[in-house]
């Protein structure tokens, strides 16, 4: 009889565990308990997310992770990075392996609605482009009929590519590869004529080549690729925290708050919006369930949107991207934060 009692107890314990697992506890509480933020990033796109010489992840997307860690835990270094291929990223997020995905992911209807993700904003407005070796003598994507194209599987670029070539009655030979690095290896070995992905990643990739002048990025941009961080459905408070962490960086640039002057401005200014952002006035932090200096931590530890852009992918970096669409709305770009009030 002992055995069946034991089995019964085991079953009950199992069922209890199952119920506990089924309840989605608050991500904010989980992150605070753990003391680190788990962030899913690209395994290696120079400028956006790539390990530096000391093995630490750095980049424009990585700064989103750091900003959220600074807001929630007060320490931008308290992040555990999980490098994810494009094929496994959504599964990793849905299963709770990461709290947040900041991995140049295109915001699409299906991913938002059907895959039950919550895109919290756009940190880079991108479009899909093509890169070819210069000695191929191609100057437009319309001349690419019959070409062999390296493409990362499971990305929106794969779908855009199929549509673009079909609509323009051109043929191509897709060479599916699993990661950005492998695509580069294949492309450099001449196993494909064309490498296609988001224009920003093309620039990043070209920057890492031994001979960047030997390659050209074709002028055609064949799609809209708004890239941004995302979280799971069902935890709205956590979504708000990530959304407003990104907005805090954007607003800080607009108001001229930088990592250098933020601490000084936090003593109080004439601009009530800056005061609310930096926690001098109002209780915006408390509304998110955070300390009132959450945005101040972001700006002093990570910097504002423009600083992060210039440091990681701006024109003075090897990636060398112009602000373009990603300039502030006041400068004619699309970067815009809703008001802090």
């Amino acid at each position: 009889m002992k055995k069946s009692v034991f089995l019964g107890a085991l079953t009950l314990a199992g069922l209890a565990a199952g119920t506990a697992m089924a309840q989605d506890s608050s991500t904010l509480a989980a992150v605070k308990d753990r003391g680190t933020l788990r962030c899913g990033v690209n395994p290696g796109t120079p400028g956006f997310a790539a390990p530096d010489a000391s093995g630490e992840f750095v980049g424009f997307d990585v700064d989103v992770c750091r900003a959220v860690a600074a807001a929630v835990l007060g320490d931008s270094e308290a992040v555990e990075y999980t490098p994810l291929t494009s094929a496994v990223r959504f599964t990793a997020l849905a299963s709770g392996e990461v709290d947040l995905l900041a991995r140049n992911t295109t915001w699409t209807f299906t991913r938002d609605v059907d895959l039950k993700n919550t895109f919290v904003g756009v940190n880079y407005y991108d479009g899909q482009g093509f890169m070819v070796p210069k000695d191929l003598g191609v100057s437009s994507a319309r001349e690419l009929s019959g070409a062999t194209v390296c493409i990362e599987t499971g990305t929106t670029t794969e779908l855009n590519l199929a549509d673009y070539f079909r609509v323009n009655n051109m043929e191509y030979e897709p060479v599916p590869v699993e990661s950005f690095t492998e695509a580069q290896t294949q492309f450099l070995a001449g196993a494909c004529d064309v490498y296609t992905t988001d224009a920003s990643a093309l620039a990043a990739s070209r920057a890492s080549f031994e001979n960047p002048e030997g390659y050209v990025v074709l002028p055609e941009i064949i799609s809209k690729e708004p890239l941004g961080p995302l979280v799971r459905h069902g935890d709205d408070n956590w979504g708000d925290i990530v959304r407003w962490s990104l907005n805090a960086m954007i607003a800080a640039e607009e108001y001229g708050v930088t990592s250098a002057n933020a601490a000084e401005l936090a003593n109080g200014t004439d601009n009530p919006e800056i005061n609310r952002l930096l926690g001098v006035e109002g209780e915006l932090g408390a509304m998110l369930g955070l300390e009132n200096d959450w945005a101040l931590n972001i700006i002093t530890q990570v910097g504002n949107y423009g600083e992060s852009f210039e440091k990681n992918i701006g024109e003075n970096t090897p990636v060398g991207l112009a602000r373009g669409l990603n300039a502030q709305w006041t400068e004619g770009g699309l970067i815009y934060s809703p008001p802090f009030r």
């Binding site: 079953t11 309840q23 039950k116």
Partner: protein, 406 residues
């Protein structure tokens, strides 16, 4: 034998008998095990459904009928990006089966040759085979696939190298085969008028070879005289077909690969991803098959060889007629497992960008639709069915070579 002396137990059935009475104990244990199994299964299913609904997801296979929107480079049946996901999965499945079948054939050839040669009296040959078997058996197959791919794409010339007056690279075999880092292009047959007759003649000669083999075997058993079977079969295979081909004025032409635009066009394109996967799987599984063949041969008593030699049979004939047929009984059962392993290992294809079932249904489809659970379940089901089919087919073959007990 003995009469029952104890009066029958009229106390009736007591609950403790379920455990202490050997008549009931095994049934009790089985019932408890069944209940435990069902509870665990129910727990897993319930937990999955609860967690999925907590995430706001449901289980729905409807995505299979929506537009796939991605292209597949190697397709054995017509497919375009406008076709639904199930058709993409079918294209992937056919690619899986193609590489599995080609792999099983090549692995068997390699394995039998290597297994026999490893027992060779030639010291060097035997050692080389030992090195081959041990190195392939002890390194993970994924590394071999990547290594083959790296060799193919890094060391071979790209199509651009074939261009120009003073090209760096040239085609093989009188300009008929182009070996590039995108794959190998071989001539493709172009079926002209009258080519059907050639094909029919060819099929008929295959039938004739089979019939001749039967007849020759019966003649041998009746008279003991052996015909030069191999040469006669070769003559039947080549002779009539060639004759008809020439008589009809060469109806089957060959389209040769030539440089056009970015790539070679014409001919059949064997992609490097497929070649790398095929070769790596074949050499890897071949090493295991070599060991199976070796063990099968060693299982046959040495007396059989000595007896065959005593009858004056040559070593090659001894191997073919005496040793291998008996060894097959030992070889076939483990060989089935190797065929299954090869088929399942082909799911590593994504590593080199070969669009098999894992890369279509379990890769791009899974990714773009986000239906992980459904895709995975479907994929597991398909691999299970494929494996069971291979296994039952091979078991049927095993029955025909098994020792006939009369």
């Amino acid at each position: 034998m003995t009469t029952m002396t104890d009066p029958p137990n009229d106390q009736g059935f007591r609950l403790s008998q379920l455990i202490y009475d050997t008549r009931y104990r095994s049934a009790t244990i089985q019932v408890i095990a069944l209940i435990a199994f069902m509870v665990i299964a129910a727990f897993l299913v319930r937990n999955t459904i609860t967690n999925l609904s907590a995430l706001g997801k449901d289980i729905d296979f409807g995505f299979l009928f929506s537009r796939a929107a991605y292209d597949i480079n190697q397709k054995l049946i017509p497919y375009s990006s406008n076709d639904p996901h199930w058709r993409a999965a079918l294209v992937g499945l056919l690619n899986t089966l193609l590489v599995a079948i080609l792999g099983c054939i090549l692995a068997t050839v390699i394995g039998v040759v290597a297994g026999v040669l490893r027992l060779s009296n030639n010291w060097l040959t035997a050692r080389i085979m030992t090195v081959y078997v041990e190195s392939f058996r002890n390194i993970p197959v994924l590394l071999w696939i990547l290594a083959f791919m790296a060799v193919l794409s890094e060391s071979l010339p790209s199509p651009r190298a074939f261009r120009g007056e003073e090209a760096e690279a040239s085609m093989w075999l009188w300009n008929t085969i182009a070996v590039t880092n995108r794959g190998t292009y071989i001539p493709a047959p172009v079926w002209g008028p009258g080519s059907a007759i050639v094909v029919v003649i060819f099929l008929l000669s295959l039938l004739a070879i089979w019939a001749f083999g039967k007849w020759s075997q019966r003649r041998f058993e009746a008279t003991g005289h052996l015909l030069p079977n191999f040469w006669i079969k070769l003559a039947i295979l080549v002779g009539p077909t060639l004759l008809v081909y020439l008589l009809l004025g060469r109806p089957v032409a060959f389209s040769l690969p030539e440089l056009a635009g970015f790539n070679f066009s014409g001919g059949i394109h064997l992609r490097n991803s497929m070649l790398a996967l095929w070769l790596a799987l074949s050499f890897y599984t071949g090493a295991f098959i070599a060991e199976i063949v070796r063990s099968g041969i060693l299982a046959i008593s040495k007396g059989q060889t000595e007896a065959a030699y005593a009858l004056g049979l040559r070593p090659s004939r001894t191997m073919n007629l005496v040793i291998l047929p008996q060894a097959l009984r030992v070889i076939i059962p483990p060989l089935i497992s190797q065929y299954l392993n090869l088929t399942k290992n082909s799911s590593l294809a994504l590593a080199v960008g070969y669009m098999d079932l894992r890369s279509t249904l379990g890769g791009t489809t899974l990714n773009t639709t986000g239906r992980e659970l459904e895709s995975m379940l479907l994929m597991m089901l398909i691999y299970l069915v494929v494996s069971l089919v291979i296994s039952s087919g091979m078991n049927f073959y095993n029955k025909t070579v098994r020792l006939k007990e009369r």
